[in-house]
C-alpha cells in the first residue's frame, strides 16, 4: 500500500464547523423552549409563564389552567414541534439526495400520496384507529414518491433535478385531484379540507405516544447517515468513487423520508413549505455539511411550526386559521425569493 510522503504543515484549523453548528443548535433549542412556553401561555385563556411551568412540573387536575395545558395545549404544541421537525428533516434529505434546491416532500408527491390514502381511509373505513391511519398514510406517501421517481427516471439520463420537479408536480396534481374526487363523492370534503389545510388542534396524547418515537427514530437515522448524505450531495459519481454504497444509502434515506413525511402528514395533513424553507435557512447559518443541517433543521422546523400554529389560533380568535395557510403565507414569498436567486446548484 502506498504511503504518502506527508509534509507536516503546521495547522490547527478544523475542517467542519462544529463550533458554529453547536451554537446554532443550542440557540435553536432555547428558541424552541421559549416558543413552546409562549404557545402554551397564549390563547383563549391567557395563562402566565410561571403557571405553565408549574403545571407541567406539578400537574394538578383540579386546577382549570392545568387541565387546559395538559390536555389541550401541551399535546398540541408537542405535535406541532414534532411535525415541524419531521417535515424539515425530510425536506433536507430530499434536497441533498436529489441535489434539487426546490425538493420538499410536498413537491415530490409524498404529501399528495398520503392525503389520497387518507381520503380512501375516510371514505371506506371510518372506524380506523390512529395506528391504521398512520400506516396507510405511510403507504400513500410511498406510492406518491415511487410514482415520481419512476416517472422521473424513465427517460435516458436518469433523475435530473428538473425532471424530478416536473414529475413531482404532475403526480401531486393527479393524486390531489383523485383525493378531492373521492372526498366529493363520499361527501367528506369538509373533513378532508380541514385535514389538507393542516392543523394540530386535535392532537392528543395517544397519537403523540405513537408518532413521537417514530419521528425521533427517523431523525436519529437521518443524523447517523448525514455524512453519507453530504457525500451523496457531491453527485452519484463522486460518491461511488469515494467508496460509498450509494444504492444502500439512497434506500435508507428514502425510507427515512417516507417515515417522517408519512408520520407528519398523518397527524396534521399536507403542509407544504416547511420542508422547503427550513433547510435553506439552516444552510445559510451552518453551511452545506448535512451533519449540521439535519439536526439544525429538526430544531428550526419545530420552532417554525410552533410559532405558525400559535399565530394561526390567535390571529383571528376564537376561530382557527389553518396552520397550512399561515406557513404558505411565509412560504410563498420565500419560494419566489429562491426562484429569483436562480434556485441554483446546491448540495
Amino acid at each position: 500500500m502506498f504511503k504518502t510522503k506527508t509534509k507536516l504543515i503546521k495547522n490547527n484549523k478544523v475542517y467542519s464547523r462544529p463550533a458554529v453548528g453547536l451554537v446554532i443548535l443550542l440557540f435553536g433549542f432555547i428558541l424552541l423552549l421559549a416558543s413552546m412556553g409562549l404557545a402554551i401561555s397564549v390563547g383563549a385563556a391567557q395563562i402566565n409563564f410561571p403557571t405553565v411551568w408549574n403545571s407541567i412540573l406539578n400537574y394538578d387536575p383540579s386546577r382549570e389552567a392545568d387541565r387546559i395545558i395538559m390536555s389541550l395545549r401541551l399535546p398540541r404544541e408537542l405535535g406541532a414541534a414534532i411535525v415541524g421537525a419531521a417535515f424539515a428533516v425530510s425536506g433536507a434529505i430530499m434536497q441533498g439526495m436529489t441535489r434539487n434546491p426546490l425538493a420538499d416532500p410536498g413537491l415530490l408527491g409524498l404529501n399528495a400520496g398520503a392525503s389520497l390514502a387518507l381520503a380512501c381511509v375516510f371514505a371506506f373505513n371510518t372506524g380506523a384507529d390512529y395506528f391504521t391511519v398512520m400506516l396507510i398514510s405511510f403507504i400513500g406517501a410511498g406510492i406518491g414518491a415511487g410514482m415520481v421517481f419512476e416517472l422521473g427516471s424513465m427517460s435516458r439520463g436518469g433523475l435530473s433535478p428538473i425532471r424530478i420537479t416536473l414529475a413531482g408536480a404532475a403526480v401531486s396534481a393527479l393524486l390531489s385531484s383523485l383525493g378531492e374526487g373521492i372526498a366529493l363523492y363520499f361527501k367528506l370534503s369538509q373533513d378532508l379540507a380541514f385535514w389538507t389545510a393542516g392543523g394540530v388542534s386535535g392532537t392528543n396524547w395517544a397519537q403523540l405516544k405513537l408518532i413521537v418515537p417514530v419521528v425521533i427514530v427517523g431523525i436519529l437515522i437521518a443524523v447517523m447517515f448525514s455524512r453519507q448524505l453530504t457525500i451523496l450531495s457531491f453527485g452519484e459519481e463522486v460518491a461511488r468513487g469515494l467508496g460509498q454504497r450509494t444504492l444502500l444509502t439512497k434506500v435508507v434515506l428514502m425510507t427515512v423520508v417516507l417515515i417522517l413525511a408519512g408520520a407528519a402528514v398523518s397527524l396534521v395533513g399536507a403542509i407544504a413549505f416547511v420542508g422547503l424553507m427550513v433547510p435553506h435557512i439552516v444552510r445559510f447559518l451552518v453551511g452545506t455539511d448535512y451533519r449540521w443541517i439535519i439536526p439544525c433543521s429538526a430544531m428550526f422546523g419545530s420552532v417554525l411550526m410552533v410559532l405558525a400554529d400559535t399565530f394561526a389560533r390567535t390571529v383571528n380568535a376564537p376561530y382557527e386559521t389553518p396552520v397550512g395557510a399561515v406557513v404558505a403565507m411565509i412560504g410563498v414569498p420565500f419560494f419566489l425569493y429562491l426562484a429569483r436567486k436562480g434556485g441554483r446548484k446546491l448540495s
Partner: protein, 270 residues
C-alpha cells in the same frame, strides 16, 4: 500482469450497446491517456474501470480480484476517480471538501484523526490550494476548483487515479498546470494515472501509454509515437493530420489537420 485490467467488457446504456468485448490493461506506475471521438465510449470505459458503471458482462480486476466482488470502500483506498466537471457544492469550503477524500478510511461519524489532517494538508499543499483552504469552493475559478477536486482525490491516498477530461473548460495555462501536477505525481510518487483527454497534443506529451478508441473498441494502443500517426488519426477521427516532433519535448505533435471529407470535396472541385 497489471494491477488494473478489464476483460471482455460489454457495456450498454439500456438497449444501446456502447462497448463490446473490450480488453484493456493499465500499465502500473505509468500515465495512460485515452483518446477518441465524441461518443466512442472512452468515458464509459473509464467509468467502468472505476466501478461507477457496471458492465453488462465482463469484469474489471484490481490486484487480481473482480472489483464487483470486493468492498467498494477497500477499492476506494486503492483507486480514486475524478468524474468530468463535478458540480461544486455551494458553501462548502475547500478544506471541508478535501477532507471528504478521507471517507474510505473512516468509520462511524468520521472524526478526522491526526493522520487524516496530515494527509489533507499535504494534498492541499501539493495541489497549491492551501491558501484557499477556508474559502468556499464555488468562489474559486475553474482551474482552482479543478485542483481542489484533484486534492480530494489525492487525499484518498490511492496508487491509481482515474480522471475524466480533467482539463475541459480550463484555459491554456490552467490545462498545463493540471497536467504538470499529474505528471509530477507520477514521476515523484510512481502513481498510476489514467485520463480521458480531448487535446491530442496533451495526450501525446504526457502519456507513457496511449489508447485510441473508436466505436466502442480499441483501435490502437502503445507509445505516443506508435499511436500519433497519420493512419491511426485518419481511422479514429477521420482527419488528415500533419504529424511533427515537438522541438521542446521531442514528442509527436499534430501540427495541423483537415477533415478528410473536405479534402475529397476540394479534389472533386479541382
Amino acid at each position: 500482469m497489471s494491477r488494473l485490467y478489464a476483460e471482455q467488457l460489454h457495456i450498454a446504456y439500456g438497449e444501446r450497446d456502447i462497448v463490446k468485448d473490450l480488453n484493456i490493461s493499465i500499465p502500473d506506475g505509468k500515465i495512460t491517456t485515452i483518446i477518441g471521438p465524441n461518443g466512442c465510449g472512452k468515458s464509459t470505459v473509464l467509468k467502468t474501470l472505476s466501478r461507477i458503471l457496471n458492465p453488462k458482462s465482463g469484469s474489471v480486476y484490481l490486484d487480481g480480484k473482480a472489483v464487483s466482488k470486493e468492498s467498494t470502500k477497500k477499492i476506494a483506498q486503492k483507486m480514486a476517480i475524478l468524474p468530468q466537471s463535478p458540480d461544486s457544492p455551494e458553501g462548502l469550503t475547500v478544506g471541508e471538501l478535501v477532507s471528504y477524500g478521507r471517507f474510505p478510511y473512516q468509520k462511524g461519524f468520521g472524526k478526522l484523526t491526526k493522520r487524516d489532517f496530515e494527509v489533507i494538508d499535504w494534498a492541499l499543499h501539493v495541489t497549491g490550494v492551501s491558501e484557499f483552504k477556508d474559502r468556499p469552493v464555488d468562489a474559486l475559478s475553474g482551474g482552482q476548483r479543478q485542483r481542489v477536486w484533484i486534492a480530494m482525490a489525492l487525499a484518498q491516498e490511492t496508487d491509481i487515479i482515474l480522471l475524466d477530461e480533467p482539463t475541459t473548460y480550463l484555459d491554456l495555462s490552467h490545462q498545463l498546470e493540471v497536467l504538470e501536477l499529474l505528471h509530477q505525481l507520477n514521476r515523484d510518487e510512481k502513481r498510476t494515472i489514467v485520463m480521458v483527454i480531448h487535446d491530442l497534443n496533451h495526450a501525446a506529451r504526457f502519456a507513457h501509454h496511449m489508447v485510441a478508441m473508436k466505436d466502442g473498441s480499441i483501435l490502437k494502443e502503445g507509445t505516443a509515437e506508435e499511436v500519433m500517426t497519420r493512419s491511426v488519426l485518419r481511422n479514429v477521427f477521420h482527419i488528415d493530420a500533419e504529424i511533427g516532433v515537438d522541438p521542446r519535448t521531442r514528442k509527436p505533435v499534430c501540427l495541423t489537420y483537415d477533415l478528410i471529407k473536405n479534402v475529397q470535396l476540394v479534389e472533386n472541385l479541382a
